[in-house]
């Protein structure tokens, strides 16, 4: 049996023609036919390396652009700078520990990457979650969704060259994060959901801060959106940019706002209801254009709907315990469970297999960011360098979830 070896530089069939490489550019080693085609430059074409230290790549993404003048001809995303092997980590930690390991996956909205595995573990264990805990999950989740969309708005404007919106939206995001920190104890990686409930009931600081913020949130969020929604330069740049049509979106497994902006009203909160969403009243905003502007405006509509949901949660919040009674050491029956939640970026789902021990046999995590990053390769060619980051930002991937 032969051990697999790295392809060697001496193999002439795999090296890039030397005359195309610059003086200090290492000659990349083509491992696939696609790479060989990509790195073979025609007349007037040039490779431009964006990231991982470029000021506007989101997280540590590296994109090699093949450009002709200012126009992007082709691109090659290079992933893996944030890879931790979290699925393998999950196989070696017990069910309680996994929650904190999964937090950094989607560090912008980390409650959602706790929610889906917690739900699948509850299915494995046949646990009934108290209603108050479900309401608290929805309440904090929607707060986190607003925080995530605010971050999107700021970064999107920043990628189009506007420096003020990010600081306005961070004023809101900071307040939300402070509110969440009042019950979770953390500002970024909350580690708040537990199997069978949540960690800690609503407290006085949370309620007073939330009430204070809710009383002015609507007007403030509208003011922040007013910086961009009516801005001629912004609208002209975003309209018609990176159009994702309905069929492509479905074929490429887009979910969440990116799918709904292309005209498919698919939202897991309504399509496959979970938690207490059936009891709540809200709309699924949908747009047909499928361009960057639609994706931006749709997220802003979702923020308005989330405010409605928070309002209803506060009014309908029942009394009762926030944790189901469970043994400390969890040993679910052997079996499989799947659960999906609608995160701010799309479907966040989790498939857990238990073999009867206190650790899952396998935990498959589906992150929408990874699928949305694939769309970049479809939407980008033909656009200008200036729009590279604008298109990428409008799809809103988070590199923690992409690299896992």
């Amino acid at each position: 049996m032969t051990t697999p070896t790295r392809p060697s530089l001496d193999d002439p069939s795999l090296t890039i023609p030397v005359e195309h490489a610059g003086i200090f550019e290492p000659i990349p080693l083509a491992r696939t036919e696609r790479q060989r085609e990509f790195y073979d430059l025609r007349d007037g074409e040039m490779l431009l390396n964006m990231g991982p230290q470029h000021p506007s790549t989101h997280g540590v993404l590296r994109v090699v652009l093949k450009i002709s003048g200012e126009q992007v001809v082709d691109l090659d995303p290079v992933l893996g700078y944030l890879h931790r092997g979290v699925e393998k980590i999950a196989e070696n930690s017990d069910f309680h520990h996994i929650i904190s390991q999964l937090d950094p996956l989607e560090y912008v909205a980390s409650l959602f990457c706790e929610w889906s595995p917690v739900m699948s573990f509850e299915k494995l264990l046949d646990v009934q979650v108290p209603r108050r805990a479900e309401y608290i999950r929805v309440l904090t989740g929607e707060l986190n969704r607003i925080a995530s969309h605010m971050l999107f708005m700021g970064w999107y404007a920043l990628d189009l060259g506007g420096i003020t919106p990010i600081l306005w939206s961070f004023a809101e995001r900071d307040e939300i994060v402070e509110i969440l920190a009042a019950i979770t104890g953390a500002k970024l990686l909350f580690n708040y959901f537990r199997i069978g409930g949540v960690n800690g009931d609503l407290n006085h600081e949370f309620m007073s801060r939330l009430g204070d913020w809710m009383s002015r949130a609507g007007a403030q969020l509208e003011a922040g959106m007013g910086l961009l929604n009516e801005n001629e330069i912004f609208v002209r740049r975003a309209r018609g940019l990176g159009v994702l049509d309905r069929e492509t979106a479905l074929r490429m497994c887009a979910t969440g706002p990116n799918l709904r902006a292309s005209g498919v009203p698919f939202d897991i909160r309504r399509a496959h209801p979970y938690s207490v969403y059936p009891e709540l009243e809200f709309e699924i905003p949908t747009r047909r254009e499928g361009d960057s502007l639609a994706r931006y405006l749709l997220r802003m509509d979702e923020v308005r709907q989330s405010l409605r949901i928070i309002d209803q949660c506060l009014h309908q919040m029942p009394d009762g315990p926030v944790m189901a009674r469970l043994p400390r050491l969890l040993r679910p029956r052997p079996g499989r469970a799947y659960s999906a939640v609608e995160g701010p970026r799309g479907q966040y789902s989790c498939y857990a297999i238990s073999d009867g021990t206190d650790q899952p046999f396998r935990l498959r995590i589906h992150d929408p960011s990874f699928l949305h990053l694939q769309l970049v390769g479809l939407l980008m060619p033909g656009n200008l360098i200036a729009d590279t980051m604008a298109i990428m930002a409008s799809l809103d991937p988070v590199m923690g979830g992409v690299d896992k």
Partner: protein, 444 residues
């Protein structure tokens, strides 16, 4: 002798060496100046315009640095206020020395030359950029009599020298051996070609109206109240000029060349230390120059926005006061200090006597300075002219800064199509309309 020397302290030894050395050098310099001054003065007297040019150029290079500091501080503070931030508040009162510290920082940083750059061009580029922009200040009249040079082709000189900075940007981008720099430089060239045309054409209307390209004459023709300013005669010209000037100064909605979200820092990516500082300063001096030119061409330059309702004449005759003058000079500081410090001493128990006196002294000095400046403002035309000119200029600087905090960046193809499809035809239309109007009015 040696024993005496050994008993001396270090300072005394230094004193004993430096003082004779200074005396000797001073004597030599005195003799040299006495010998050389008459011919030099003769030469300067014979070439007065040249002397004025050299002196003004030197003065302007010196003046640009504080101007850039003020604008950088303004940008830091104004954008901070728009961003819901505090901005710099550590160095100096309200952080006012922050930009000075920035300047010192770029001086102290390592001046790094990357591998593979074209060293002579890489070194020259910041100098070309920095030298060209203050030189355009040479023709701007800041006040009656306060200007470097009054060319009869002043406006043409301004655009010619201002366009030179693009050459520097091209040099920087080409020599940097960096693809981002190269793209930034190419954008700079494309932008300069596109926007120099509407910029130059937008002021042709004013040249037709004024019949001269001398900026001094253009300002003098706008004398009177604010109704006599060119903005009322050339509104379209002003709009075109302002947009094109934004592109020329590389300011935010049109700052293609250093779009940091796209091209890292554009042409300046590979620069560090004071070489980067030159680009940095040049950008802000450019903002100042463009704002000053807007004020000169369209907003009356150093003319006050209104005619004084009454002639202000201050006639003081110190001789008529006799001995009273001596008493005034001797007693005014003491009495003024006490009178101005008294309210603080009386009204707040926390203010000690000494502190009240210090406050009174500072207030008295401010009062005197204010009185002197007010006297200068009403009696010296160049002081009031300078004040009005700076006021107008900094209003435009403020607008430039505010635009940076407000607007996203235009895409590069939109930038080009806007210049060629809208600005250029509008500028041509402006020229035609102005020319027809002037010829009709002249024939009547």
């Amino acid at each position: 002798m040696t024993a005496y020397w050994n008993r001396l302290s270090v300072g005394s030894r230094a004193f004993l060496i430096i003082v004779p050395a200074l005396l000797v050098v001073g004597a030599i310099l005195t003799v040299a100046v006495a010998l050389l001054l008459p011919p030099v003065l003769d030469f300067l007297g014979a070439n007065l315009p040249l002397a004025r040019f050299v002196a003004a150029a030197a003065a302007i290079i010196v003046v640009t640095i504080p101007v850039a500091f003020v604008i950088i501080y303004m940008e830091l503070k104004v954008i901070a206020a728009m961003n819901l931030r505090v901005g710099p508040d550590r160095v100096g009162p309200y952080g006012s020395l922050m930009s000075v510290v920035h300047g010192l920082k770029v001086l102290a940083k390592e001046d790094f030359t990357p591998r593979g750059v074209d060293v002579p061009i890489f070194t020259l580029a910041p100098i070309v950029v920095f030298a060209s922009i203050p030189l355009t200040m040479l023709v701007i009249p800041f006040a009656p009599g306060v200007f470097g040079q009054d060319f009869n082709i002043g406006l043409l000189y301004f655009f010619a020298i201002g366009g030179m900075s693009v050459v520097g940007l091209m040099m920087a981008g080409w020599a940097s051996f960096n693809k981002y720099s190269l793209l930034g430089a190419l954008r700079a060239a494309a932008q300069a070609i596109s926007y120099e045309l509407p910029l130059t054409l937008s002021v042709v209307g004013i040249i037709i109206l004024a019949g001269t390209m001398s900026l001094n004459s253009i300002v003098q023709l706008q004398a009177g109240s604010f109704l006599d300013w060119n903005i009322w005669k050339q509104p379209l010209g002003f709009i075109i000029f302002f947009i094109a000037a934004t592109a020329e100064a590389n300011r935010t909605p049109l700052d293609m060349t250093e779009a940091d979200q796209e091209l890292v820092a554009g042409f300046a990516t590979e620069y560090s230390g004071m070489r980067f500082g030159f680009f940095f300063f040049a950008e802000y001096v450019n903002v100042f120059v463009v704002s000053a030119l807007s004020a000169v061409l369209f907003f009356g330059g150093w003319n006050a926005p209104f005619n004084w309702p009454f002639p202000v004449t201050l006639s003081l005759d110190p001789g008529g006061m006799g001995l009273g003058l001596i008493f005034l000079i001797a007693l005014a500081p003491v009495v003024g200090t006490i009178i101005l410090g008294l309210p603080f001493w009386l009204l707040s128990s926390r203010v000690s006597t000494l502190r009240a006196l210090v406050i009174g002294f500072v207030l008295f000095n401010l009062l005197i300075v204010g009185a002197f400046m007010g006297w200068a403002f009403v009696s010296a035309a160049w002081v009031s002219g300078l004040v009005w000119m700076m006021l107008k200029t900094f209003v435009f600087v403020f607008i430039f800064v505010q635009m940076r905090g407000t607007l996203p960046r235009v895409r590069v193809d939109q930038l080009m199509s806007f210049a060629w499809k809208w600005l250029l035809p509008a500028a041509l239309l402006n020229i035609f309309v102005t020319a027809i109007a002037v010829s009709i009015l002249a024939n009547r």
